[in-house]
């Protein structure tokens, strides 16, 4: 899964002090998801029911979609704080253009995501700003723009085609889950089987070396941020369709944190140079399952947040062991 060749070779030399087993570093997040599922299967009533699993998957789908884009950005040693604003922007545009039909409205909403990404990408690659600062501007301003366009109001969505996107299902599997899964496969293909994917990893690993090697650094960086913006806009569209209302003031709030968490817990290092797509999906699932488990056992939200914090620290600590060896 990872592209770093240094990891597997190390344990032989440091076998005297096996602090964290290598398999745990590699597969810990999947083991944690499996353990949580097992725990719930035994101790939680009505957890492994189709209804409940459907609900969990529907809830996690938008996070997965945003986190996939975030994983690509983090792979280039960047970060995108503006994903929540991109979601809000897409949501604000939908009701304005639904009068012209579903497809034009969707295209315009996705285009807005691409524009957000292009601005971020240009600030990062052409101007040379740090990703945090570059995307902070649209984090602050993007939601404002969305609210200005929507007159600061929540608008009900009445278009049946759009609502079908949010609530429909294929062979019993909710459409949003199918879309998220398909996108995960597409991103995995992109990362592992295309030149663009290899360029992302190379740029994240060592940007100046990649530039010296003649890679189109600016173009790849811009492309990655555009992809991230489009994916965020898509998540905004799907969430809007499911909520049956466009709510630019709250849609996507704290989404950047959830997405970054999923990516990092999934084993993608913040220092770039590697993108773990399956890990990202598992990371999002782990956070969702954790919250659901605590809620089902009547533990308050505060406990869930503190548990999430602990998981993040633990995941990064484990990853740190892997890097330092």
């Amino acid at each position: 899964m990872t592209t770093q060749a240094t990891a597997p070779a190390a344990p032989a030399r440091r076998s005297s002090r096996p602090s964290v087993p290598a398999w745990f570093q590699e597969y810990g997040v999947y083991a944690a998801v499996a353990a949580l599922l097992l725990f719930n299967a035994v101790f939680t009533d009505h957890f492994l029911t189709t209804d409940n699993l459907r609900t969990q998957l529907i809830q996690v789908a938008p996070i997965v979609i945003v986190a996939l884009g975030m994983a690509l950005v983090i792979g280039t040693e960047g970060v995108d704080l503006s994903v929540g604003s991109a979601m809000a922007l897409a949501a604000a545009l939908l009701p304005l253009y639904l009068g012209y039909g579903l497809v034009p409205a969707l295209l315009i909403a996705l285009l807005a995501g691409a524009v957000v990404g292009a601005v971020n990408g240009a600030l990062v690659s052409v101007v040379g700003l740090q990703p945090i600062v570059a995307t902070l501007a649209l984090f602050v301003g993007g939601r404002g723009i969305a609210l200005v366009m929507a007159d600061g109001q929540l608008k009900q969505i009445v278009n049946p085609d759009l609502l079908a996107l949010g609530t429909g299902s294929v062979l019993g599997v909710p459409l949003v889950v199918v879309i998220a899964a398909a996108l995960a496969l597409a991103v995995a293909f992109l990362v592992h089987r295309t030149t663009f994917g290899r360029q992302i990893v190379a740029i994240g690993g060592n940007r100046s070396a990649a530039a010296l090697a003649g890679l189109p650094v600016k173009r790849v960086l811009t492309g990655v941020y555009i992809l991230c913006g489009v994916l965020a806009a898509l998540a905004g569209i799907l969430a809007t369709a499911r909520l049956t209302a466009s709510d630019p003031s709250s849609l996507g709030n704290l989404m950047e944190l959830s997405a970054i968490t999923a990516v990092v817990v999934g084993g993608t290092p913040l220092s770039g140079g590697s993108v773990r797509v399956l890990g990202t999906v598992a990371g999002a699932l782990l956070m969702q399952l954790l919250r659901a488990t605590l809620v089902k056992h009547d533990l308050p939200d505060s406990t869930a947040q503190m548990a999430q914090a602990a998981i993040i620290i633990a995941a990064v600590y484990v990853a740190r062991e892997r890097r330092s060896r």
């Binding site: 700003l129 902070l136 602050v140 600061g152």
Partner: protein
């Protein structure tokens, strides 16, 4: 508060050792163009702030009143205190995302503890919030974890602690009426509230520490190059732990003073404050890569954000969403300008 307290430190990626005399240390005298670029980078925010204030005073008579000035500055003082800690953290090349949560937590703790008097109302939030900052610092400096992730986790953790303290946000703690603690937030000298004086005193102290002490110089060195600072034998880990500790303490103090002003601990405030603070720091000319910056710039950055917000309120017809649009626009403008100034200085 010295206006020219910022350093002539090296721009992003520059290899010059960060010292107040960095420009001279090269041997060559800085060219006129370089000097102007440096001056704009250093005090450009102040110029923009003054320009905005002058124009606004002519256009909106209600803006240039003493009452309005008092209101704006009191509102800004809380963000200013938080942004002061953030400035120190960012100068070392780090970032503290937990300050918004810690600010809210500090307020709730202060309001809760104020039933036993002023001292507990200040000590409890400082101890707890300082503790969170200390943990951040230890994880970052000793365990070598990324500041972004560590403080992201403590953002969640502090918010969780806050929810647990308030029965999931259902309980609001009130500061007892007539308590001296409430005076700390509501009292004033010549109409200027104590929060302003506290913020000014802290900025004065912060500026002195940063410019006149070896600790301050260590922070710049750590931000310039952590490895080089280690090789020079500087106490890098201790400096990093200290800045996160200070950031936690300042955010907690700001929360406590805010609770004193509101007479209650409000659970829903502080969300997104970390990004406001970062924006103010960046607008103020402190480089996010670390190694260069000033507390005076941060003060002007905070005031600029506050004045923009106030102006948008004055222009009654503009909906408040424009505030974030204008703030975001300013942020882009300032950082892009800084970037090009830094480049022109390096090539000059």
């Amino acid at each position: 508060m010295k206006l020219s307290s910022s350093l002539a430190a090296s721009p992003a990626g520059g290899s010059a050792p960060p010292s107040p005399k960095a420009a001279d240390a090269h041997g060559a005298r800085p060219s006129g163009r370089e000097r102007i670029a440096e001056l704009v980078q250093r005090q450009g925010v102040l110029a923009v702030l003054l320009l905005v204030i002058v124009i606004a005073s002519f256009v909106y008579p209600t803006f240039a009143t003493l009452d309005n000035a008092r209101g704006v500055t009191v509102q800004a003082s809380f963000l200013a205190i938080v942004a002061l800690g953030m400035t120190l953290v960012i100068i070392t090349g780090g970032i503290d995302l937990s300050v918004g949560s810690v600010f809210a937590l500090g307020g709730v703790l202060a309001a809760w503890a104020s039933q036993w008097g002023v001292l507990p109302a200040l000590l409890v939030p400082l101890v707890v919030c300082g503790g969170i900052g200390l943990i951040n610092g230890l994880l970052i400096a000793r365990a070598g974890m990324a500041p972004f992730i560590v403080t992201l986790a403590s953002l969640l953790g502090a918010r969780g602690l806050l929810l647990a303290l308030t029965d999931e946000g259902a309980t609001t703690y009130l500061v007892p009426k007539g308590s001296f603690f409430a005076e700390l937030g509501q009292g004033s000298v010549w109409g200027f509230g104590y929060p302003i004086l506290i913020a000014l005193a802290l900025f004065g102290a912060g500026g002195l520490v940063l410019q006149r002490t070896s600790f301050g110089q260590t922070l710049f060195a750590v931000g310039g190059s952590s490895d080089a600072a280690t090789l020079m034998g500087l106490p890098v880990a201790r400096a990093k732990i200290m800045v996160y500790l200070l950031s936690g303490l300042l955010a907690g103090l700001a929360g406590a003073v805010n609770a004193a002003r509101l007479s209650s601990g409000v659970t829903i405030i502080g969300a997104g404050m970390e990004l406001d603070a970062i924006a103010a720091v960046v607008i103020g000319g402190t480089l996010l890569v670390g190694g260069a910056g000033s507390v005076s710039g941060t003060l002007w950055g905070v005031l600029l954000l506050a004045v923009i917000q106030n102006l948008i309120n004055q222009i009654g017809s503009l909906n408040s969403s424009y505030q974030s649009v204008v703030s975001g626009g300013f942020l882009i403008l300032v950082v892009v300008a800084q970037r090009y100034l830094a480049r022109s200085r390096r090539t000059a």
